[in-house]
Amino acid sequence: MIDSSFDRRDFLKVMGWGGAAVALSGCGNTSIEDGKETVVSYVEAADYVIPGVSVYYNSTCAQCDAGCNINGRVREGRVLKLEGNAASGINRGKMCGLGQAGVQHHYNPDRVREPLLRNGDRGEAIAWDKAYALIAEKLNGVSGDEVAFLSGGVSGHLKVLLGNYLESLGSKNHFVYEAVSPAVVRAANKKAYGNEMPRFSINKAKVVLSFGADFLGSWVSPVHFSQQYAQFRKGVNGQRGVLVQVESKMTLTGANADRWLVVRPGTEGVLALGIINALGASGVALSGDAAAASQGYDKARVTSETGVSAEHLDKLVALLKERTPSLVLAGSAAEGYAHGSQNAAAINLLNQVLGNVGKTIEAPAVLPFPQMAPAKGSSLALKSLNEGLAAGKYKVLFTYGANPVFTAPGSMKFKDSMGKAAFKVAFAHYLDETALQADLVLPLDSALEDWGTQVPEYLADGAQINIQQPLMEKLHPETRGMGDVLLALIKQRQADAYKGFEDYYSYLRSALLQNKGALGGGGSDDDTFWDATLTSGIIKLAGAAGTLSASSAAGLKLPEAAAADAQFPMHLIPSVTANLRDGRHANQPWLQESPDPLTTIVWDSWVEIHPKKAAQMGIVEGDIVEVASKTGTIKAQAYLFPGIHPDAVSIPLGRGHEAMGRYAKGFGVNPFQILDAVYDQETGELAMHETRVKISKVGQRVIVVKDEGVIGGKQDGRRIALSKTTDQVKLSEEI
C-alpha cells in the first residue's frame, strides 16, 4: 500500500517514470508490495529444472554499452554459455568475443567477494550493514556538494535510482566517465544532424567512407554494424558495397576495406574537405557553407597535407559521385585531436554534400522515457572531477563502473587527486587500480546474477528497454547487486519513500508493472506481462520516430597543420581493440588469449611501427622500445606493422594492469599513462591521438608471443586465402 504521505509525483519519481512522455496507465494499481518473490533454491528445484537439460534465459550483455540482447544457457543451475538473442534488433542472435567472455567475468576467480574496509595497506572484510553504517556515518555532516559520484555509462532504472540517491544527498556531482567514448562525434553529430547518435544504415549504403570509425571492431555497436556490413557486402542486385577506410593506423574495419587510405595523423578533416572540394569541382551542387568550408582544399594541397595520392583521391571522388547513397562515418581516429570537433564536422559535412542525410543517416527512435536514456560517458567528466578532487572539493567519492586510476591520462595524475578525498567508496567487481585506492570496497554481483534494465545509446532497431535478469544464483553470498546497494543507501535517506521495496527486484518489478500499458502489456495481467517480459528480455517500445534537423556548417575551419615537434617527432595512436577496449575486461582469459586480429599478438602489449620506419631506426620485431612523451615513458616490444603511418606508432589500450587479477596483472603496458593533457578545443574531451612521442631502442629483445608463423602472414604463393576483384566475379549469381 502506498503511504498516504507519499504523493503521486514523488511516487513517479521513485519509480523512474517522472516526466514520462507517455501517460501512465493503470496508475494507482496497488500491487507494488505484491512484487515480493523469492527465488526458489536449487535444492527444491522448480519443475522446469531438469538435470541434463539446458534452459535458456534472455538477458542483456553488460560487457560493453551496445546493449546486445543475450540468451544464456543454464544447466543444473549453472550458466554455461551466452548466445545472442535472436529476437533482438540489435544483435539478432549474434555475439562478439567480448560478449562471449561475459561468463568469465561472472566466474572470475579474482572477483571481490565481501566488503573490504581499508586498514593500512590491507583490506579487512566487514559485514554489509557495517559498511552501510559507515557510509551513513561518513556522509553525516558532509554537504551534497562535497560528494562526488563517478560512474561509467548508466541507463535504465539504475540511472534513475542513482539520480534519486544523489538528489537525496543534495549532490549534483554525478560524473559519467567513459575512457573510450565517441563524445566528440556525438557533439558533432548533434550539430550536423540534430542527434547525437543517428542511425547509420550501412546496409543501405553503396559506399561507406569511414574516417577511422572501427565499426566492425569497437565502435558504438559493432555486432549490429557487422550484420549490416554483411548485407552491405552482399549488396543489392549483386552490386557489392564498397568500403573505404581513412585512418593513420589500421583498425579491424580498415583491414576489411576495399581501399585503405593512410593519412598523416590528424588530417582526416583535410581529406574530407578535399573530397567536398573535388565533388564541387566535378559538378555536385554545394551549399554555401560547404563551398566556403572546402574553399582552397584543392587536390594539390590535400594530397600534400594528407599523403593520399591524387589517383586514389580521384577514384574515391568518382566513386562517391557515381554510387549513391553512400555513408560517411567519423570515428575515433578523426575525433582524437585538438581539432577533433572540426574534423568530425568536416566529415559530417561530406554526408550532407553527398545527400546521405535521411537516406543512410536516419533519425533514431525517440525513447519515450528520457530519464531512462543512458547517461553517456565522456572524458570531460573525469577532467572536471579531477579538478574538483585536486582542489579538495570532494570529501566523499563513490566510483562505479569505471577504473579512472587505470584509464586517466598520466598527465592528469588522477591517483594523487583521488587521495585527497577523505572517504572513497568503490563499487567493484575486482580489486582494480581504483578499488585499491578506495577506503571501502563493496563487491557487486556480476551481470549474470543481477537484475536491471538497460537502454542502449545506439538504438539500432527502434526504442527498447533491455531486461537484465539473473541467469543463476549468486556465486558468492556476500556480493550485492548495484541496484540493491543503491536501494539500501537511498533508504538511509528516504526510508519512507522506498520502504515498500525489499530489494531491487521488487522495485524493478513494481516499476515495470506500474507502467505496463506503455510498455506494451496493456491488456495482460501483471504476472503474464512480467513473465512475457522476462521471457523475451526486451521491451520494445512504440516510440515516435525522431527527426533529423538540417544544420549549417557555417564557420567550419580547420586549423593549420601543427608544426613538427623536433623533440617528440612521432604521433602516438592508442588503439582500441575489440576485445580489451579500455581494459575493464582484461582479467578474462579468453580475451587475453584471443589473438589481436591484426597482429595476432596475445597476452602482451606491443608498439606498432611501420617497417620502413623501423628499418631506419634499426628496429626489428621483438626489440623493446621506449616510447617517451612529455608525460611519461613506457617500454614495450616492437611489432613491425605495415598498416600504420610511418610517422606514428600505436600501442593498444587495455593492458598493463598493476592490479585487478591474475590474468590482467603484469601483462603488457598501459599507454594511458603517457597521454598528454591535450583537449579538443570545442568539447573539452581528451584528445587521445594528440600525444607526441619519441621512440628509442632499449637494447633488449624478446620473442613476440603471437599466433602468426615465422613468415608473418604470407602465403608463400600457396592457395590458402584467395581474393578476387569485383570484375572477376559474378556476385549476382550467388545465393
Binding site: 602468426e708 608463423g709 615465422v710 602472414g713 604470407k714 608463400d716 600457396r718 590458402i720
Partner: protein
C-alpha cells in the same frame, strides 16, 4: 695381414674369452658407471615428463615429433648391422665375421630394446600404450591396421624376438663351455640352464646348424622390412619431405651404415677393455671399415637420388623443404649430416687409416653423429615447413628433457651392452675355433692347431 693367428690353441681361446667374464680392465667399470649415470638422467627426465606432460619436451603444434622419433629411428637403424654381420655374412660364408658377430648381434638386440623405449617416452599416454597391440579386447576394438605406426610396432616386436632367439641359439655351444669352465655360483646355474644340456654331440651340432641357418634366413628379410616399415612412417604420410618413394632403401642403407659405424666403435672398445687383441684383429677391423665405406657410398648415392628426385620433381612444397634444410635454421645440422655422412667416410678409403685405431674410433663416432643428425633432419624440418605456411615455426629447439632422454638412451644401451659382455662371452668361442681350424688347414706343417684339439 691375417684375420687371425692360426696358431692360437683352442684352450687359449676358451681362456682368453672366459677371462672377459671375470676380469676386465678398470675402464670397464668406468664405462658401466658412466652409462648408469647417463641412464639415470634419462629416467629422471621421463619421470618428470610423465608427471607434468609432454609439453616439457618443448614440442608444440605443429612440431609434434621431436628427438624421440629421430632417436628412435637411429636406434632401429643401429640394430641392422648385427643382422648383417651374423646372418647375411654367415650365409655368404665370410668367416672373418666370426670373432665379432656375437657382440654385433647383442648390439642389435639392445638397440632394439632402446628404440622401443623411445616409442614409450614419445606417446602422450604411456599408460595406454597397449592399445596399439592387436590383443583381443572385450570391446572388440582392434588397432588400426592401416597405420604404418602399427606395422612398426609389429615389425619391431617380431624383429626383437627373432634377434633375441638368434642371439641365444648362436650362443648355446659357448654357454656350454662357460658351464664347463666356470666355478660354482649363480652364473654356473645360469649357464647350466641356458646351455640346455648341450654336449656337443653330432646330432646336436647338426640340429644346431639347421636351426641357426633357418633363423638367419628368417631374420634377413625381417631386418630389411623393419627399416622399410620405419621408412613407411614417413613415406606413407603425405607431408612434403617425407613422401619420398626411395625412403625404404634409403633407410635400410642408413641403418646398415650407422650399425657398421657402431660396430667399429664397440670393436675398439671391447678389444681394449677385454683384451681381445688376438681375436679382434686389425685385419678384421680393416674389413669392417671397408664394408662401412661401401655402405657409406651407397647411402650417399641414395641421398643424392632423393635430392635429385625432389629437385627435378614438380612438388614445390617438397622442394621448399629441401631448400629450407640446406639454407634455413637447420642448415648447420643438415650440412653437418652431409659432412659426417658423406665426406668424412672418404677417409676410410685410405689404407693407412683403415687400421688406425684412434682415427677410426673418432671417425666411427662422428659417422654415427652424422647418422643421428640425418634422422633429426628427416623428422624436424618437415614439421617446421609443411604445407601450411601459417604454422611454419623454426624456433622449436628441443628442451633439456628431450636431450636428457637422448643421452639416457645411450646410457641404457651401453649399460645393457656392457653387462651382456660381462655375463656372456662376447666373442664366439666355437666359431673362432672353427675359423682358426680352417685357417690352420692351410698350414699342414704347423702342428700347433693339432695340439689345440680339445
Amino acid at each position: 695381414m691375417k684375420d687371425i693367428r692360426e696358431d692360437i690353441a683352442w684352450a687359449k681361446i676358451n681362456k682368453d674369452v672366459l677371462v672377459s667374464l671375470e676380469n676386465p680392465r678398470k675402464m670397464y667399470w668406468v664405462i658401466v658407471f658412466s652409462a648408469l649415470a647417463l641412464f639415470s638422467v634419462g629416467v629422471g627426465c621421463e619421470v618428470y615428463q610423465y608427471n607434468v606432460g609432454m609439453g616439457v619436451a618443448n614440442l608444440n603444434n605443429p612440431n609434434v615429433w621431436g628427438l624421440y622419433i629421430a632417436t628412435f629411428i637411429f636406434w632401429i637403424g643401429m640394430s641392422h648391422s648385427g643382422t648383417l654381420l651374423s646372418a647375411i655374412l654367415h650365409l655368404m660364408h665370410a668367416d672373418w665375421r666370426k670373432p665379432i658377430y656375437r657382440f654385433a648381434e647383442a648390439m642389435t638386440t639392445f638397440s632394439l630394446m632402446t628404440a622401443g623405449l623411445f616409442v614409450m617416452v614419445h606417446i602422450g599416454r604411456l599408460w595406454q600404450f597397449y592399445y596399439a597391440f592387436p590383443y583381443p579386447s572385450e570391446r572388440w576394438v582392434w588397432p588400426n591396421f592401416q597405420s604404418p605406426l602399427l606395422w612398426d610396432a609389429m615389425a619391431i616386436f617380431t624383429y626383437l624376438s627373432s634377434s633375441v632367439l638368434f642371439l641365444y641359439v648362436g650362443m648355446i655351444p659357448d654357454l656350454a663351455i662357460c658351464r664347463d669352465n666356470l666355478h660354482e655360483g649363480w652364473r654356473k646355474k645360469l649357464y647350466t640352464f641356458l646351455a640346455l644340456g648341450w654336449e656337443g654331440t653330432d646330432r646336436q651340432w647338426r640340429n644346431f646348424r639347421i636351426t641357426y641357418l633357418t633363423i638367419a634366413c628368417f631374420l634377413i628379410p625381417l631386418a630389411v622390412s623393419v627399416h622399410s616399415i620405419v621408412a613407411s612412417d614417413f613415406a606413407m604420410s603425405q607431408q612434403p619431405g617425407w613422401h619420398v618413394t626411395s625412403f625404404p632403401p634409403y633407410f635400410v642403407a642408413g641403418a646398415l651404415y650407422s650399425g657398421c659405424a657402431a660396430i667399429i666403435t664397440l670393436f675398439i672398445i671391447l678389444r681394449y677393455v677385454f683384451k681381445f687383441e688376438d681375436y679382434m684383429t686389425k685385419s678384421i677391423l680393416k674389413k669392417t671399415v671397408r664394408l662401412t665405406f661401401a655402405i657409406a657410398m651407397v647411402w650417399t648415392y641414395l641421398n643424392a637420388v632423393e635430392f635429385a628426385a625432389v629437385w627435378y620433381g614438380h612438388d614445390v612444397d617438397a622442394k621448399q623443404v629441401l631448400i629450407q634444410k640446406a639454407t634455413g635454421p637447420f642448415a648447420p645440422f643438415w650440412w653437418g649430416m652431409i659432412f659426417c655422412g658423406s665426406v668424412l667416410p672418404l677417409i676410410l678409403a685410405f689404407k693407412r687409416f683403415q687400421t688406425n685405431i684412434p682415427v677410426l674410433f673418432a671417425v666411427s663416432l662422428l659417422l654415427n653423429l652424422g647418422m643421428w643428425l640425418e634422422r633429426w633432419m628427416i623428422v624436424a624440418p618437415t614439421f617446421s615447413h609443411g604445407y601450411y605456411p601459417w604454422v611454419w615455426d623454426n624456433d622449436q629447439w628441443p628442451s633439456l628433457v628431450q636431450w636428457g632422454m637422448v643421452m639416457g638412451s645411450f646410457g641404457w644401451f651401453t649399460l645393457l651392452f656392457m653387462i651382456f659382455c660381462k655375463v656372456f662371452p662376447s666373442v664366439s668361442m666355437y666359431e673362432v675355433k672353427e675359423m682358426v681350424y680352417h685357417r690352420s688347414l692351410h698350414l699342414k706343417k704347423d702342428e700347433t692347431a693339432e695340439q689345440g684339439a680339445h
